[in-house]
Symmetry: D2
Amino acid sequence: MTRLHVPIGLRWNDLDAYGHVNNAAMLTLLEESRISVFWGGDGFGVEGLSDAAFGLGGDTITLIARQEVEYLAPIPYLREPLDVQLWIGRLGGASIEVCYEVCSPVGVDPVVVFARAASTIVLVDTVSQKPRRMTDAEREAWSAFVDAPIVFAKRS
Amino acid sequence: MTRLHVPIGLRWNDLDAYGHVNNAAMLTLLEESRISVFWGGDGFGVEGLSDAAFGLGGDTITLIARQEVEYLAPIPYLREPLDVQLWIGRLGGASIEVCYEVCSPVGVDPVVVFARAASTIVLVDTVSQKPRRMTDAEREAWSAFVDAPIVFAKRS
Amino acid sequence: MTRLHVPIGLRWNDLDAYGHVNNAAMLTLLEESRISVFWGGDGFGVEGLSDAAFGLGGDTITLIARQEVEYLAPIPYLREPLDVQLWIGRLGGASIEVCYEVCSPVGVDPVVVFARAASTIVLVDTVSQKPRRMTDAEREAWSAFVDAPIVFAKRS
Amino acid sequence: MTRLHVPIGLRWNDLDAYGHVNNAAMLTLLEESRISVFWGGDGFGVEGLSDAAFGLGGDTITLIARQEVEYLAPIPYLREPLDVQLWIGRLGGASIEVCYEVCSPVGVDPVVVFARAASTIVLVDTVSQKPRRMTDAEREAWSAFVDAPIVFAKRS
Protein backbone atom coordinates (compact mmCIF):
# COMPACT_ATOMS: atom_id res chain seq x y z
CA MET A 1 0.00 0.00 0.00
CA THR A 2 1.99 2.99 -1.16
CA ARG A 3 -0.46 4.69 -3.45
CA LEU A 4 -2.55 7.47 -2.04
CA HIS A 5 -5.99 8.03 -3.51
CA VAL A 6 -6.88 11.70 -3.76
CA PRO A 7 -10.38 12.73 -4.90
CA ILE A 8 -10.04 15.74 -7.23
CA GLY A 9 -13.19 17.38 -8.53
CA LEU A 10 -13.33 18.84 -12.01
CA ARG A 11 -14.61 22.30 -12.70
CA TRP A 12 -16.77 22.98 -15.73
CA ASN A 13 -14.21 25.56 -16.74
CA ASP A 14 -11.49 22.89 -17.00
CA LEU A 15 -13.07 21.87 -20.29
CA ASP A 16 -12.07 23.59 -23.49
CA ALA A 17 -14.03 24.02 -26.69
CA TYR A 18 -13.40 20.38 -27.65
CA GLY A 19 -15.54 19.44 -24.63
CA HIS A 20 -12.67 17.73 -22.80
CA VAL A 21 -10.43 18.72 -19.93
CA ASN A 22 -7.77 20.98 -21.40
CA ASN A 23 -4.20 19.69 -21.44
CA ALA A 24 -3.02 22.54 -19.21
CA ALA A 25 -5.85 22.05 -16.71
CA MET A 26 -4.44 18.55 -16.17
CA LEU A 27 -1.44 20.10 -14.43
CA THR A 28 -3.75 22.04 -12.15
CA LEU A 29 -5.45 18.78 -11.18
CA LEU A 30 -2.05 17.25 -10.39
CA GLU A 31 -1.12 20.34 -8.38
CA GLU A 32 -4.29 20.05 -6.33
CA SER A 33 -3.55 16.40 -5.59
CA ARG A 34 -0.01 17.25 -4.41
CA ILE A 35 -1.24 20.04 -2.18
CA SER A 36 -3.88 17.77 -0.74
CA VAL A 37 -1.33 15.26 0.53
CA PHE A 38 1.88 17.27 1.02
CA TRP A 39 0.63 20.46 2.64
CA GLY A 40 -0.16 19.69 6.22
CA GLY A 41 -1.56 21.51 9.17
CA ASP A 42 -4.94 21.49 10.88
CA GLY A 43 -5.93 18.03 9.84
CA PHE A 44 -4.89 18.41 6.21
CA GLY A 45 -2.26 16.43 4.39
CA VAL A 46 -1.32 12.78 4.83
CA GLU A 47 0.37 11.70 8.03
CA GLY A 48 4.05 11.05 7.47
CA LEU A 49 4.01 12.72 4.08
CA SER A 50 2.82 16.22 4.76
CA ASP A 51 4.57 18.84 6.77
CA ALA A 52 2.76 21.81 8.18
CA ALA A 53 5.72 23.96 7.17
CA PHE A 54 5.02 23.45 3.46
CA GLY A 55 2.98 25.85 1.42
CA LEU A 56 2.40 29.58 1.74
CA GLY A 57 3.81 30.95 4.94
CA GLY A 58 5.94 27.89 5.67
CA ASP A 59 9.73 27.74 5.68
CA THR A 60 9.95 25.49 2.62
CA ILE A 61 8.38 26.06 -0.74
CA THR A 62 8.39 23.49 -3.48
CA LEU A 63 9.23 24.37 -7.06
CA ILE A 64 8.51 22.22 -10.08
CA ALA A 65 11.67 21.27 -11.98
CA ARG A 66 10.10 19.01 -14.57
CA GLN A 67 6.82 17.41 -15.52
CA GLU A 68 5.90 14.68 -17.91
CA VAL A 69 2.38 13.67 -18.82
CA GLU A 70 0.99 10.93 -21.02
CA TYR A 71 -2.59 11.70 -21.98
CA LEU A 72 -4.21 8.31 -22.53
CA ALA A 73 -7.87 9.24 -22.93
CA PRO A 74 -9.71 12.55 -23.07
CA ILE A 75 -11.45 13.42 -19.80
CA PRO A 76 -15.11 14.34 -20.29
CA TYR A 77 -17.03 16.43 -17.80
CA LEU A 78 -17.57 14.33 -14.69
CA ARG A 79 -19.56 15.24 -11.61
CA GLU A 80 -17.83 12.72 -9.35
CA PRO A 81 -14.23 13.51 -8.46
CA LEU A 82 -11.42 11.85 -10.33
CA ASP A 83 -9.42 9.30 -8.36
CA VAL A 84 -5.89 10.67 -8.62
CA GLN A 85 -3.49 7.99 -7.44
CA LEU A 86 -0.25 9.44 -6.19
CA TRP A 87 3.02 8.01 -4.93
CA ILE A 88 6.72 8.88 -4.76
CA GLY A 89 8.81 7.41 -7.55
CA ARG A 90 12.22 8.58 -6.32
CA LEU A 91 13.79 10.50 -3.46
CA GLY A 92 16.76 12.61 -4.58
CA GLY A 93 19.06 14.83 -2.55
CA ALA A 94 16.85 17.90 -2.63
CA SER A 95 14.07 16.63 -4.86
CA ILE A 96 11.14 14.25 -4.99
CA GLU A 97 9.65 12.62 -8.05
CA VAL A 98 5.91 12.46 -7.56
CA CYS A 99 4.07 9.95 -9.76
CA TYR A 100 0.38 9.96 -10.63
CA GLU A 101 -2.26 7.96 -12.37
CA VAL A 102 -5.35 10.03 -13.06
CA CYS A 103 -8.24 7.57 -12.92
CA SER A 104 -11.99 7.52 -13.34
CA PRO A 105 -14.07 8.20 -10.23
CA VAL A 106 -14.11 5.52 -7.55
CA GLY A 107 -16.77 2.94 -8.35
CA VAL A 108 -16.57 3.25 -12.13
CA ASP A 109 -15.94 -0.19 -13.57
CA PRO A 110 -13.76 -0.84 -15.47
CA VAL A 111 -11.33 1.82 -14.29
CA VAL A 112 -10.19 4.25 -16.97
CA VAL A 113 -6.66 5.63 -16.62
CA PHE A 114 -6.91 9.03 -18.25
CA ALA A 115 -3.30 10.05 -17.74
CA ARG A 116 -0.02 9.03 -16.21
CA ALA A 117 2.36 11.70 -15.04
CA ALA A 118 5.40 12.56 -12.99
CA SER A 119 6.58 15.83 -11.43
CA THR A 120 10.01 16.49 -10.03
CA ILE A 121 9.64 18.91 -7.17
CA VAL A 122 12.53 20.64 -5.46
CA LEU A 123 12.60 21.68 -1.82
CA VAL A 124 13.47 25.36 -1.65
CA ASP A 125 14.22 27.32 1.49
CA THR A 126 11.77 30.21 1.75
CA VAL A 127 14.37 32.63 3.05
CA SER A 128 17.43 31.82 0.91
CA GLN A 129 15.29 30.85 -2.11
CA LYS A 130 17.82 28.04 -2.71
CA PRO A 131 17.30 24.29 -2.84
CA ARG A 132 17.83 22.62 0.51
CA ARG A 133 18.69 18.99 1.20
CA MET A 134 16.07 16.61 2.41
CA THR A 135 16.51 15.93 6.12
CA ASP A 136 17.00 12.39 7.40
CA ALA A 137 13.66 12.58 9.13
CA GLU A 138 11.93 13.60 5.90
CA ARG A 139 13.66 10.85 3.94
CA GLU A 140 12.65 8.24 6.45
CA ALA A 141 9.05 9.42 6.61
CA TRP A 142 8.67 9.77 2.88
CA SER A 143 10.23 6.40 2.03
CA ALA A 144 7.02 4.77 3.21
CA PHE A 145 5.37 6.23 0.10
CA VAL A 146 8.00 5.17 -2.44
CA ASP A 147 7.07 2.73 -5.16
CA ALA A 148 8.36 2.02 -8.67
CA PRO A 149 8.41 5.16 -10.81
CA ILE A 150 6.32 5.36 -13.95
CA VAL A 151 7.95 3.99 -17.09
CA PHE A 152 6.74 6.29 -19.82
CA ALA A 153 5.93 4.13 -22.79
CA LYS A 154 5.66 6.82 -25.39
CA ARG A 155 8.92 8.65 -24.90
CA SER A 156 10.48 9.17 -28.27
CA MET B 1 16.96 28.27 -39.79
CA THR B 2 14.18 26.01 -38.64
CA ARG B 3 13.13 27.62 -35.41
CA LEU B 4 10.08 29.81 -35.46
CA HIS B 5 9.93 32.70 -33.03
CA VAL B 6 6.46 33.24 -31.61
CA PRO B 7 5.78 36.24 -29.35
CA ILE B 8 3.51 35.10 -26.52
CA GLY B 9 2.27 37.69 -24.04
CA LEU B 10 1.81 36.82 -20.41
CA ARG B 11 -1.33 37.65 -18.53
CA TRP B 12 -1.17 38.90 -14.97
CA ASN B 13 -3.40 35.99 -14.04
CA ASP B 14 -0.76 33.49 -15.21
CA LEU B 15 1.09 34.24 -11.99
CA ASP B 16 0.27 32.33 -8.86
CA ALA B 17 0.72 33.37 -5.25
CA TYR B 18 4.48 32.76 -5.46
CA GLY B 19 4.61 35.67 -7.94
CA HIS B 20 5.75 33.49 -10.85
CA VAL B 21 4.03 32.00 -13.86
CA ASN B 22 2.23 28.91 -12.61
CA ASN B 23 3.47 25.55 -13.86
CA ALA B 24 0.14 24.79 -15.52
CA ALA B 25 -0.04 28.18 -17.21
CA MET B 26 3.18 27.22 -18.99
CA LEU B 27 1.21 24.66 -21.01
CA THR B 28 -1.26 27.34 -22.01
CA LEU B 29 1.62 29.45 -23.30
CA LEU B 30 2.88 26.49 -25.34
CA GLU B 31 -0.64 25.89 -26.65
CA GLU B 32 -0.91 29.50 -27.79
CA SER B 33 2.41 29.23 -29.62
CA ARG B 34 1.29 26.07 -31.43
CA ILE B 35 -2.01 27.62 -32.46
CA SER B 36 -0.20 30.70 -33.68
CA VAL B 37 1.87 28.75 -36.20
CA PHE B 38 -0.20 25.64 -36.98
CA TRP B 39 -3.70 27.04 -37.32
CA GLY B 40 -3.93 28.79 -40.67
CA GLY B 41 -6.51 30.77 -42.54
CA ASP B 42 -6.92 34.47 -43.22
CA GLY B 43 -3.30 35.38 -42.88
CA PHE B 44 -2.68 33.42 -39.69
CA GLY B 45 -0.29 30.55 -39.21
CA VAL B 46 3.10 30.02 -40.81
CA GLU B 47 3.29 29.29 -44.51
CA GLY B 48 4.07 25.65 -45.14
CA LEU B 49 3.37 24.72 -41.56
CA SER B 50 -0.17 25.79 -40.97
CA ASP B 51 -3.22 24.39 -42.62
CA ALA B 52 -6.44 26.35 -42.69
CA ALA B 53 -8.30 23.12 -41.95
CA PHE B 54 -6.81 22.83 -38.47
CA GLY B 55 -8.55 24.10 -35.42
CA LEU B 56 -12.22 24.47 -34.59
CA GLY B 57 -14.43 23.83 -37.60
CA GLY B 58 -11.69 22.20 -39.64
CA ASP B 59 -11.54 18.56 -40.70
CA THR B 60 -8.57 17.71 -38.50
CA ILE B 61 -8.21 18.31 -34.82
CA THR B 62 -5.00 17.77 -32.93
CA LEU B 63 -4.89 15.99 -29.60
CA ILE B 64 -2.01 16.04 -27.16
CA ALA B 65 -0.60 12.58 -26.49
CA ARG B 66 2.26 13.58 -24.23
CA GLN B 67 4.07 16.61 -22.90
CA GLU B 68 7.34 17.07 -21.13
CA VAL B 69 8.56 20.30 -19.61
CA GLU B 70 11.81 21.26 -17.89
CA TYR B 71 11.32 24.40 -15.85
CA LEU B 72 14.74 26.07 -15.78
CA ALA B 73 13.97 29.42 -14.19
CA PRO B 74 10.81 30.92 -12.71
CA ILE B 75 9.09 33.38 -15.06
CA PRO B 76 8.36 36.72 -13.39
CA TYR B 77 5.68 39.07 -14.66
CA LEU B 78 6.87 40.53 -17.94
CA ARG B 79 5.18 43.19 -20.02
CA GLU B 80 7.01 42.29 -23.24
CA PRO B 81 5.98 38.99 -24.83
CA LEU B 82 8.08 35.91 -24.28
CA ASP B 83 10.01 34.67 -27.29
CA VAL B 84 8.75 31.10 -27.64
CA GLN B 85 11.03 29.29 -30.07
CA LEU B 86 9.30 26.39 -31.73
CA TRP B 87 10.32 23.66 -34.14
CA ILE B 88 9.44 20.08 -35.05
CA GLY B 89 11.58 17.44 -33.39
CA ARG B 90 10.12 14.39 -35.14
CA LEU B 91 7.50 13.50 -37.73
CA GLY B 92 5.76 10.20 -36.94
CA GLY B 93 3.08 8.35 -38.86
CA ALA B 94 0.15 10.25 -37.41
CA SER B 95 1.98 12.43 -34.94
CA ILE B 96 4.30 15.39 -34.63
CA GLU B 97 6.71 16.14 -31.82
CA VAL B 98 6.73 19.89 -31.32
CA CYS B 99 9.73 21.27 -29.43
CA TYR B 100 9.98 24.60 -27.64
CA GLU B 101 12.36 26.83 -25.82
CA VAL B 102 10.55 29.49 -23.83
CA CYS B 103 12.89 32.47 -23.82
CA SER B 104 13.05 35.98 -22.45
CA PRO B 105 11.57 38.76 -24.60
CA VAL B 106 13.45 39.66 -27.77
CA GLY B 107 16.14 42.20 -26.97
CA VAL B 108 16.85 41.01 -23.44
CA ASP B 109 20.55 40.27 -23.14
CA PRO B 110 21.68 37.72 -22.14
CA VAL B 111 18.80 35.50 -23.21
CA VAL B 112 17.16 33.53 -20.40
CA VAL B 113 15.75 30.12 -21.31
CA PHE B 114 12.90 29.72 -18.83
CA ALA B 115 11.79 26.29 -20.02
CA ARG B 116 12.36 23.60 -22.58
CA ALA B 117 9.46 21.43 -23.62
CA ALA B 118 8.07 18.96 -26.11
CA SER B 119 4.51 18.02 -27.03
CA THR B 120 3.50 15.01 -29.08
CA ILE B 121 0.40 15.93 -31.02
CA VAL B 122 -1.71 13.47 -32.92
CA LEU B 123 -3.70 14.27 -36.05
CA VAL B 124 -7.30 13.22 -35.50
CA ASP B 125 -10.04 13.16 -38.12
CA THR B 126 -12.89 15.40 -36.95
CA VAL B 127 -15.57 13.04 -38.23
CA SER B 128 -14.22 9.61 -37.28
CA GLN B 129 -12.47 10.95 -34.16
CA LYS B 130 -9.60 8.57 -34.99
CA PRO B 131 -5.96 9.30 -35.70
CA ARG B 132 -5.24 9.77 -39.38
CA ARG B 133 -1.92 9.36 -41.19
CA MET B 134 0.05 12.38 -42.22
CA THR B 135 -0.30 12.96 -45.95
CA ASP B 136 2.77 13.07 -48.18
CA ALA B 137 2.14 16.72 -48.85
CA GLU B 138 2.02 17.49 -45.13
CA ARG B 139 5.20 15.51 -44.47
CA GLU B 140 7.04 17.31 -47.20
CA ALA B 141 5.88 20.74 -46.10
CA TRP B 142 6.53 20.11 -42.42
CA SER B 143 10.00 18.61 -42.92
CA ALA B 144 11.27 22.13 -43.59
CA PHE B 145 10.68 22.82 -39.88
CA VAL B 146 12.38 19.71 -38.49
CA ASP B 147 15.46 20.07 -36.34
CA ALA B 148 17.08 17.96 -33.63
CA PRO B 149 14.62 17.14 -30.85
CA ILE B 150 15.29 18.32 -27.33
CA VAL B 151 17.43 16.04 -25.19
CA PHE B 152 15.94 16.34 -21.74
CA ALA B 153 18.81 16.50 -19.30
CA LYS B 154 16.91 15.92 -16.12
CA ARG B 155 15.02 12.78 -16.99
CA SER B 156 15.38 10.34 -14.15
CA MET C 1 -35.17 28.38 4.58
CA THR C 2 -34.53 29.36 1.00
CA ARG C 3 -30.79 29.68 0.96
CA LEU C 4 -28.82 26.71 -0.25
CA HIS C 5 -25.37 26.20 1.19
CA VAL C 6 -22.90 24.94 -1.40
CA PRO C 7 -19.37 23.99 -0.31
CA ILE C 8 -16.94 25.23 -2.97
CA GLY C 9 -13.28 24.38 -2.60
CA LEU C 10 -10.59 26.82 -3.65
CA ARG C 11 -7.70 25.80 -5.83
CA TRP C 12 -4.23 27.14 -5.16
CA ASN C 13 -4.26 28.44 -8.71
CA ASP C 14 -7.25 30.69 -7.95
CA LEU C 15 -4.82 33.00 -6.17
CA ASP C 16 -2.95 35.62 -8.10
CA ALA C 17 0.35 37.27 -7.31
CA TYR C 18 -1.26 39.40 -4.60
CA GLY C 19 -1.88 36.17 -2.70
CA HIS C 20 -5.66 36.46 -2.87
CA VAL C 21 -8.34 34.82 -4.98
CA ASN C 22 -8.31 36.65 -8.30
CA ASN C 23 -11.38 38.72 -9.17
CA ALA C 24 -12.09 36.59 -12.24
CA ALA C 25 -11.73 33.32 -10.34
CA MET C 26 -14.63 34.53 -8.20
CA LEU C 27 -16.96 34.04 -11.18
CA THR C 28 -15.69 30.49 -11.58
CA LEU C 29 -16.56 29.80 -7.95
CA LEU C 30 -20.06 31.17 -8.55
CA GLU C 31 -20.35 29.04 -11.69
CA GLU C 32 -19.42 25.92 -9.75
CA SER C 33 -22.03 26.69 -7.12
CA ARG C 34 -24.74 27.13 -9.77
CA ILE C 35 -23.81 23.89 -11.49
CA SER C 36 -23.82 22.10 -8.19
CA VAL C 37 -27.46 22.93 -7.50
CA PHE C 38 -29.01 23.44 -10.96
CA TRP C 39 -27.54 20.59 -12.97
CA GLY C 40 -29.29 17.42 -11.96
CA GLY C 41 -29.09 13.78 -12.80
CA ASP C 42 -27.67 10.79 -10.99
CA GLY C 43 -28.02 12.18 -7.53
CA PHE C 44 -26.62 15.62 -8.33
CA GLY C 45 -28.37 18.94 -8.06
CA VAL C 46 -30.95 20.03 -5.53
CA GLU C 47 -34.38 18.47 -5.61
CA GLY C 48 -36.93 20.84 -7.06
CA LEU C 49 -34.27 23.17 -8.36
CA SER C 50 -32.19 21.04 -10.64
CA ASP C 51 -33.29 19.46 -13.84
CA ALA C 52 -31.39 16.57 -15.34
CA ALA C 53 -31.87 18.16 -18.76
CA PHE C 54 -29.63 21.10 -17.88
CA GLY C 55 -25.99 21.21 -18.74
CA LEU C 56 -23.99 19.62 -21.54
CA GLY C 57 -26.10 17.20 -23.56
CA GLY C 58 -29.38 18.44 -22.15
CA ASP C 59 -32.11 20.24 -24.09
CA THR C 60 -31.63 23.54 -22.27
CA ILE C 61 -28.46 25.47 -21.82
CA THR C 62 -28.16 28.50 -19.61
CA LEU C 63 -26.39 31.64 -20.72
CA ILE C 64 -25.25 34.44 -18.48
CA ALA C 65 -26.84 37.77 -19.36
CA ARG C 66 -25.37 39.85 -16.58
CA GLN C 67 -23.33 39.57 -13.42
CA GLU C 68 -22.66 41.91 -10.58
CA VAL C 69 -20.19 41.31 -7.79
CA GLU C 70 -19.30 43.29 -4.69
CA TYR C 71 -15.93 42.20 -3.36
CA LEU C 72 -16.09 42.87 0.38
CA ALA C 73 -12.89 41.24 1.61
CA PRO C 74 -10.00 39.55 -0.16
CA ILE C 75 -10.16 35.75 0.00
CA PRO C 76 -6.93 34.20 1.24
CA TYR C 77 -5.97 30.60 0.49
CA LEU C 78 -8.28 28.35 2.47
CA ARG C 79 -8.16 24.59 2.75
CA GLU C 80 -11.78 24.23 3.88
CA PRO C 81 -14.40 24.93 1.21
CA LEU C 82 -16.11 28.29 1.11
CA ASP C 83 -19.76 28.31 2.11
CA VAL C 84 -21.43 29.77 -0.97
CA GLN C 85 -24.99 30.67 -0.06
CA LEU C 86 -27.25 30.73 -3.06
CA TRP C 87 -30.88 31.59 -3.69
CA ILE C 88 -33.13 32.94 -6.43
CA GLY C 89 -33.74 36.67 -6.30
CA ARG C 90 -36.24 36.92 -9.15
CA LEU C 91 -37.98 34.69 -11.68
CA GLY C 92 -38.47 36.39 -15.05
CA GLY C 93 -40.13 35.14 -18.20
CA ALA C 94 -37.11 33.31 -19.56
CA SER C 95 -34.57 34.24 -16.93
CA ILE C 96 -33.56 33.67 -13.34
CA GLU C 97 -31.63 35.99 -11.10
CA VAL C 98 -29.37 33.89 -8.93
CA CYS C 99 -28.06 35.58 -5.79
CA TYR C 100 -25.02 34.58 -3.75
CA GLU C 101 -23.16 35.38 -0.61
CA VAL C 102 -19.69 33.92 -0.64
CA CYS C 103 -18.90 33.17 2.99
CA SER C 104 -16.09 31.77 5.10
CA PRO C 105 -16.02 28.00 5.63
CA VAL C 106 -18.72 26.51 7.83
CA GLY C 107 -17.63 26.68 11.46
CA VAL C 108 -15.56 29.83 11.15
CA ASP C 109 -16.81 32.32 13.72
CA PRO C 110 -17.58 35.12 13.10
CA VAL C 111 -18.69 34.51 9.54
CA VAL C 112 -16.88 36.59 6.92
CA VAL C 113 -18.88 37.55 3.84
CA PHE C 114 -16.21 37.84 1.15
CA ALA C 115 -18.53 38.79 -1.68
CA ARG C 116 -22.13 39.34 -2.65
CA ALA C 117 -23.17 38.70 -6.22
CA ALA C 118 -25.99 38.17 -8.64
CA SER C 119 -26.14 36.48 -12.04
CA THR C 120 -28.99 36.73 -14.49
CA ILE C 121 -29.17 33.46 -16.39
CA VAL C 122 -31.30 32.92 -19.44
CA LEU C 123 -32.84 29.59 -20.42
CA VAL C 124 -31.82 28.80 -24.00
CA ASP C 125 -33.14 25.97 -26.11
CA THR C 126 -30.22 23.80 -27.20
CA VAL C 127 -31.62 23.24 -30.69
CA SER C 128 -32.95 26.69 -31.61
CA GLN C 129 -30.29 28.51 -29.57
CA LYS C 130 -33.01 30.98 -28.59
CA PRO C 131 -34.35 31.89 -25.16
CA ARG C 132 -37.31 29.81 -24.13
CA ARG C 133 -39.97 30.65 -21.57
CA MET C 134 -39.92 29.11 -18.17
CA THR C 135 -42.58 26.40 -17.91
CA ASP C 136 -45.26 26.57 -15.24
CA ALA C 137 -43.79 23.50 -13.60
CA GLU C 138 -40.36 25.12 -13.44
CA ARG C 139 -41.78 28.34 -12.05
CA GLU C 140 -43.66 26.51 -9.37
CA ALA C 141 -40.70 24.35 -8.38
CA TRP C 142 -38.23 27.21 -8.39
CA SER C 143 -40.41 29.61 -6.43
CA ALA C 144 -39.60 27.59 -3.33
CA PHE C 145 -36.08 29.00 -3.58
CA VAL C 146 -37.01 32.64 -4.08
CA ASP C 147 -36.02 35.19 -1.47
CA ALA C 148 -35.33 38.92 -1.51
CA PRO C 149 -32.75 39.86 -4.13
CA ILE C 150 -29.48 41.45 -3.08
CA VAL C 151 -29.52 45.23 -2.77
CA PHE C 152 -26.12 46.29 -3.97
CA ALA C 153 -24.92 49.02 -1.66
CA LYS C 154 -22.04 50.28 -3.70
CA ARG C 155 -23.73 50.88 -7.02
CA SER C 156 -22.71 54.27 -8.27
CA MET D 1 -11.80 61.52 -27.54
CA THR D 2 -11.75 59.91 -24.14
CA ARG D 3 -12.04 56.25 -25.00
CA LEU D 4 -8.88 54.24 -25.15
CA HIS D 5 -8.77 51.33 -27.56
CA VAL D 6 -6.89 48.36 -26.14
CA PRO D 7 -6.26 45.32 -28.32
CA ILE D 8 -6.75 42.20 -26.19
CA GLY D 9 -6.04 38.82 -27.74
CA LEU D 10 -8.11 35.79 -26.84
CA ARG D 11 -6.58 32.51 -25.86
CA TRP D 12 -8.04 29.24 -27.05
CA ASN D 13 -8.36 28.27 -23.42
CA ASP D 14 -10.71 31.19 -22.74
CA LEU D 15 -13.43 29.17 -24.45
CA ASP D 16 -15.44 26.68 -22.48
CA ALA D 17 -17.25 23.59 -23.67
CA TYR D 18 -20.02 25.70 -25.22
CA GLY D 19 -17.40 27.00 -27.65
CA HIS D 20 -17.62 30.59 -26.40
CA VAL D 21 -15.49 32.73 -24.14
CA ASN D 22 -16.37 31.72 -20.60
CA ASN D 23 -18.13 34.31 -18.45
CA ALA D 24 -15.25 34.35 -15.94
CA ALA D 25 -12.60 34.71 -18.65
CA MET D 26 -14.32 37.98 -19.56
CA LEU D 27 -13.05 39.48 -16.30
CA THR D 28 -9.53 38.40 -17.17
CA LEU D 29 -9.83 40.23 -20.49
CA LEU D 30 -10.97 43.36 -18.65
CA GLU D 31 -8.09 42.98 -16.21
CA GLU D 32 -5.60 42.78 -19.06
CA SER D 33 -7.04 45.94 -20.60
CA ARG D 34 -6.75 47.82 -17.31
CA ILE D 35 -3.17 46.72 -16.78
CA SER D 36 -2.33 47.71 -20.32
CA VAL D 37 -3.31 51.32 -19.76
CA PHE D 38 -2.87 51.88 -16.02
CA TRP D 39 0.39 50.14 -15.26
CA GLY D 40 3.18 52.31 -16.55
CA GLY D 41 6.91 52.15 -16.73
CA ASP D 42 9.31 51.45 -19.57
CA GLY D 43 7.06 52.59 -22.33
CA PHE D 44 3.96 50.81 -21.08
CA GLY D 45 0.69 52.34 -20.02
CA VAL D 46 -1.04 55.40 -21.40
CA GLU D 47 0.50 58.80 -20.82
CA GLY D 48 -1.38 60.72 -18.17
CA LEU D 49 -3.30 57.65 -17.08
CA SER D 50 -0.65 55.20 -16.05
CA ASP D 51 1.70 55.54 -13.18
CA ALA D 52 4.91 53.55 -13.03
CA ALA D 53 4.28 53.02 -9.34
CA PHE D 54 1.22 50.87 -9.99
CA GLY D 55 1.34 47.13 -10.16
CA LEU D 56 3.61 44.60 -8.47
CA GLY D 57 6.47 46.26 -6.64
CA GLY D 58 4.92 49.71 -6.78
CA ASP D 59 3.71 51.72 -3.77
CA THR D 60 0.05 51.50 -4.75
CA ILE D 61 -1.95 48.42 -5.53
CA THR D 62 -5.45 48.51 -6.89
CA LEU D 63 -8.18 46.28 -5.52
CA ILE D 64 -11.48 45.57 -7.19
CA ALA D 65 -14.45 46.65 -5.08
CA ARG D 66 -17.19 45.80 -7.55
CA GLN D 67 -17.77 44.68 -11.09
CA GLU D 68 -20.78 44.59 -13.30
CA VAL D 69 -20.97 42.97 -16.71
CA GLU D 70 -23.70 42.78 -19.31
CA TYR D 71 -23.00 39.95 -21.71
CA LEU D 72 -24.65 41.03 -24.98
CA ALA D 73 -23.41 38.38 -27.40
CA PRO D 74 -21.32 35.24 -26.97
CA ILE D 75 -17.70 35.71 -28.05
CA PRO D 76 -16.54 33.02 -30.47
CA TYR D 77 -12.88 32.15 -30.95
CA LEU D 78 -11.24 35.05 -32.75
CA ARG D 79 -7.68 35.26 -34.01
CA GLU D 80 -7.62 39.05 -34.20
CA PRO D 81 -7.58 40.83 -30.83
CA LEU D 82 -10.78 42.23 -29.42
CA ASP D 83 -11.05 46.00 -29.36
CA VAL D 84 -11.65 46.72 -25.68
CA GLN D 85 -12.74 50.32 -25.35
CA LEU D 86 -11.99 51.73 -21.94
CA TRP D 87 -12.66 55.00 -20.17
CA ILE D 88 -13.21 56.37 -16.67
CA GLY D 89 -16.85 56.73 -15.68
CA ARG D 90 -16.31 58.39 -12.30
CA LEU D 91 -13.49 59.59 -10.06
CA GLY D 92 -14.25 59.07 -6.36
CA GLY D 93 -12.20 59.93 -3.31
CA ALA D 94 -10.08 56.81 -3.32
CA SER D 95 -11.68 54.96 -6.19
CA ILE D 96 -12.09 54.96 -9.94
CA GLU D 97 -14.93 53.51 -11.95
CA VAL D 98 -13.48 52.04 -15.11
CA CYS D 99 -15.96 51.47 -17.94
CA TYR D 100 -15.54 49.13 -20.90
CA GLU D 101 -17.15 48.11 -24.12
CA VAL D 102 -15.74 44.84 -25.40
CA CYS D 103 -15.98 45.08 -29.17
CA SER D 104 -15.20 43.00 -32.24
CA PRO D 105 -11.71 43.33 -33.70
CA VAL D 106 -10.85 46.61 -35.40
CA GLY D 107 -11.97 46.49 -39.02
CA VAL D 108 -14.95 44.20 -38.49
CA ASP D 109 -18.02 45.90 -39.90
CA PRO D 110 -20.55 46.29 -38.40
CA VAL D 111 -19.02 46.48 -34.95
CA VAL D 112 -20.33 43.91 -32.47
CA VAL D 113 -20.44 44.97 -28.83
CA PHE D 114 -20.00 41.69 -26.98
CA ALA D 115 -20.16 43.12 -23.48
CA ARG D 116 -20.42 46.31 -21.47
CA ALA D 117 -18.84 46.42 -18.06
CA ALA D 118 -17.68 48.57 -15.18
CA SER D 119 -15.15 47.95 -12.42
CA THR D 120 -14.73 50.05 -9.31
CA ILE D 121 -11.10 49.96 -8.34
CA VAL D 122 -9.74 51.26 -5.07
CA LEU D 123 -6.28 52.72 -4.60
CA VAL D 124 -4.58 50.87 -1.75
CA ASP D 125 -1.28 51.79 -0.16
CA THR D 126 1.10 48.84 -0.48
CA VAL D 127 2.56 49.34 2.99
CA SER D 128 -0.51 50.14 5.09
CA GLN D 129 -2.81 47.98 2.96
CA LYS D 130 -5.44 50.69 3.40
CA PRO D 131 -7.24 52.78 0.80
CA ARG D 132 -5.51 56.06 0.09
CA ARG D 133 -6.99 59.24 -1.35
CA MET D 134 -6.39 60.16 -4.93
CA THR D 135 -3.84 62.98 -5.16
CA ASP D 136 -4.70 66.24 -6.88
CA ALA D 137 -2.19 65.46 -9.59
CA GLU D 138 -3.80 62.08 -10.24
CA ARG D 139 -7.27 63.57 -10.33
CA GLU D 140 -6.21 66.22 -12.80
CA ALA D 141 -4.40 63.76 -15.04
CA TRP D 142 -7.16 61.19 -14.96
CA SER D 143 -9.98 63.64 -15.58
CA ALA D 144 -8.88 63.79 -19.22
CA PHE D 145 -10.17 60.23 -19.55
CA VAL D 146 -13.55 60.75 -17.90
CA ASP D 147 -16.70 60.29 -19.93
CA ALA D 148 -20.29 59.36 -19.13
CA PRO D 149 -20.50 56.12 -17.14
CA ILE D 150 -22.32 53.13 -18.56
CA VAL D 151 -26.03 53.00 -17.87
CA PHE D 152 -26.75 49.34 -17.38
CA ALA D 153 -30.00 48.59 -19.13
CA LYS D 154 -30.71 45.21 -17.68
CA ARG D 155 -30.38 45.96 -14.00
CA SER D 156 -33.32 44.44 -12.23
